[in-house]
Structures are given as C-alpha cells and as structure tokens.
Symmetry: C2
Subunit: 257 residues, 2 copies
Amino acid sequence: MQPKALRAQSDPVFVQSLGKAMRVLEAFRDSDAPLSLAEISSRAGITRSAAQRIAHSFRELGYMRLSDDGRGFLLDLGILDLTYNYLRMHPLIRRATPILQELRRTVRERVDLSLFDGQRMVYAARLQSKREVFFATLIGHSVPTYCTSGGWAVLAMLPDNEVNTLLSTAEMRQVTPRTLTDPQAIREQIVLTRQNGHSLAIEQILMGEVAIGVAIPGPGNRPAGAIHIAGNLSEWQPEEFRRHVAPLASAAANAMI
Amino acid sequence: MQPKALRAQSDPVFVQSLGKAMRVLEAFRDSDAPLSLAEISSRAGITRSAAQRIAHSFRELGYMRLSDDGRGFLLDLGILDLTYNYLRMHPLIRRATPILQELRRTVRERVDLSLFDGQRMVYAARLQSKREVFFATLIGHSVPTYCTSGGWAVLAMLPDNEVNTLLSTAEMRQVTPRTLTDPQAIREQIVLTRQNGHSLAIEQILMGEVAIGVAIPGPGNRPAGAIHIAGNLSEWQPEEFRRHVAPLASAAANAMI
DNA sequence: ATTAATGTATTGCATTCCGATACAGTTGCA
DNA sequence: TGCAACTGTATCGGAATGCAATACATTAAT
C-alpha cells in the first residue's frame, strides 16, 4: 500500500481512516494468538493511539473483542455477518452449492469451490466427505494459483500472455517436496489441462492428496473460479481417480454456467 | 445506533468515519441484488457523497466491487480473508471441527456449530450429509435463540433471570406454523432440556426438520454456543431420532470442553 | 424525447482524527 | 521482592482529513 501522503495526493476520494482501520482487521493475518495494541500498531503500520481508537470502535461495532484474559484483541462474530451477506449474494456460490452437494454425494470425496483472485484461489465452499485437516474445512482459506488443481484449471482458461505474466510474477515456493515451481513444468500441466478439460494435481499443496480441478467460466468467458475434488493416495491411484472423478467434475462445472 | 453528534459526545474515542463505513458493509443485509450508491446511502443513513467515498475506498481495498453491469455494488472477496482469520483463530471452532467431522460421519445427518450471540445463534461450522437448502450451508447464517434446538440448549445453561430477560425482549415471530412463540411454552422446553441434557426441536425454523441441540460451555461456565444435529421427519420419528442422536451429540459436546 | 437514475469528480470549510502523553494495573524478570 | 516492561484506557490542542453540496457525462426508464 502506498504511503499515506502519496495516496491522498493520488486518490482524494480515498478515506484514509478507513484504510488504516481495515489494516487493523488485516493485522490478524499470520497471527496465532490475540494481538495487543502494540502488536496491532506494529503490524498495521499505525501509531498505538490510532490502534486504540480503531480497536475500540471495532469492539463497539461487534467486529473485534478483547480476549478472555483482557490481554489482547481478537476478531469477533460480526465478521460472520459480512461473510453471510457475501456468500448468499454471490451468483456463482448460489448456483454452485446444490450442484456441489450432489457431486459430493456421488464421488464421496471432498469437494471445494474456489474463486480466482490473481495469484491465489480463495475457497468459498467446502464440502467434506471424510475427516479433513482443519484448514481444509475453512471458508476463506486460500492457496496459490500456480500449484493447485483449481489454479491450473483457471490458468488453462486464460490466454498465454496472462499465464506468462502470472507465472513470472508469482512468488513460488515449495509447499510440499512435490510442488512444481518451474514455470515450464507448470506450463506443461496447463497444456495437459487444456487437452483434458481438467487438471490433475498430485501432492502439490498437501502430501498424500490427489485433486482434479475444472474451471468455471465467468463474465466475458474469463474464469471466475474452479471446482476441485480431492482424494487420498492411500485410497486411489491417480489415473483411477481421474477416470472416476473427471467426468463428474466436468459435468458439475458445466451445470454451473 | 446513536445519532452521530450524540455518539461523539458519549464516546470520544469512537471513530465516526469507521462507524459510517461499516454501516455501508452492513447495508447489504436484507439485500438480494447489487446496491446503488443511492440505496447504500439510504440504508446506511449517510449522504450519497459519503457513500461514494466509502464505497470507492472499500473497492480499492478489496472488500467491495462494482457489479458486472456497472450499475451497483457488491461485497468482494476480501471479506473471506477476514472470515478465515476469524475462524482459524477461534478456540472453540478449532477444537470443535474435528469432533464435528467425526460426529457427522457417525450420525450421517447435518451437523452444525453455532455461537451464542444474545437473541441469535450464528452458524460458525456447517457439515452437511445430504442435500440441504442453500441457507443451511452458509457460514454466518443466524437463527433466533428462542426457537431453535441450539438456542434452547444455550438458554437451558443460563440462570432463570437471564432466560426471562431474553424471552421478554425477543421479537418473536412465527417462522413456521409450528414455531413456539409463547414464552411459557419455551420455558417448558428449557426445563425439558435441563432434564435431558439436550433439546429436541421439531419444525421450529424449517418444516420437516427435527433437531437435537447440546450447549457448549465457555469461560465462566456460560454457554459459548451449541452443536445441533438436524434430520428429516420423512426419515425419522422424533423419539427415535433423539435415542439415536442425543448420546452422540452429548459426547461430542463434552469432548469440546 | 425527456426525465430520472447512475457513477464519478471537484472544492472550501469545519469537524474529526491524530499523536503524544499520562495513568493505573498486571506481568515478566533478575 | 523490587523494578522494568507491558498492558488497556483516558485526555487534549492542532491540523489534516472527511464532508456535503454541486456538477457532469452516461445510461436506463418512461
């Protein structure tokens, strides 16, 4: 984000207090415990006074609360009100939800919907079948576009110049030992995805996980997001998983258009 | 919410621009379609100028977007970032999630976790087993405390004076023809819940639905929320549902303490 | 064809937000 | 056990920001 003064000069309509305030809410990213005002001010890049006023205001409004021991702040339930309004009004989520429910019943594996957001795919619907790791149950969890089944599916729907831009600006890291981080290797997956109409990702973000992804087109035939179905390599051979799941995933994605 | 001037006098630390801004996000409650600046200003009780500045700022920050036809505003993906941070840091949600997954596998019905918020119970985890109505899949959806299995379970854990206060200030309405709205009838359900250790709600918020609820204690032995399991009356007799589900629900709630 | 609605842009002014500072209580540490 | 560091909360004068009215171009509705 631009320095304050510069932002004001370049965007006189921007409400700077609001910018500061949202950085307070965003300060909880990458945090595992309640945050003190000092920590909030450090992470949000504002003074302790500003952190105090903003935290106090968010508390009054129901978006933050003091922890039980009174020694730090946490997000509060009001966040879920915003979540609910976002989810129930999102056209794709509304269309997708019954289809995903049916798909989960048919394939008996975890089914997700993620929304395309440049370098990341953000989970907007999670339908578990079996016991999942905690983060695989959470709305809002996001994963990199460059190394996920949903990401490859989405990239496959974009023109090559956009794919190249996204791959060259991605901060690629090895999520698992099997994660592809070589742009050329990823392009090969995209070519295969274009040919097959779906992607197949093996242990890219979770060891032991195999996932099929199919993109969902949005306005202007640009990808809005993807559905993906994940299975466990202790139960599936990858090609068997593909044969079983890919037709169902494609049919489901087609039903969402 | 108090008028602006009054709020400033009574709470000098409150950031009024922030209050206005959050009312813009909250304006999407009860809306089914994108909102124009005029509609936002009307619902949020602010001028069209203020709505423009705030909407513009939220767009820059990723919390709102212009609709595809450019004729209205919607909430955007940034909301899910806040959701994710809220969910993953919430102690009860973390503890509850694996237990609910196991519970859903065992009972093969829909399992939810809701958080107690005075007159409402807010859904924080939804685990579907079968095809559900759309709203039964959404995080953040909230239902009245006075007429739900989770609500009765939570009320049963409160002292009588608090129960009386909540029942006398509730804006009770008939959600279904079976919804209890007589405070005395609800008190009888609470007595039964205290005796049984769980509640049994029949067609209170959805026709055809039977639900068992068990409260989950939080700090100071006050209820933090409840888990509830819902079944369909086309498949279950209520007493059979109770016999089958209640022990499992109670065990699950005990495991979350 | 006209009116009403839309989002966007501008500006002088007054209110609001700001940052520094102080305080009381609690926790951490030697 | 005593001191330092940290915590949340409270205050205030000043200036930067947010405000409201207004205007404009485009689109939709009548």
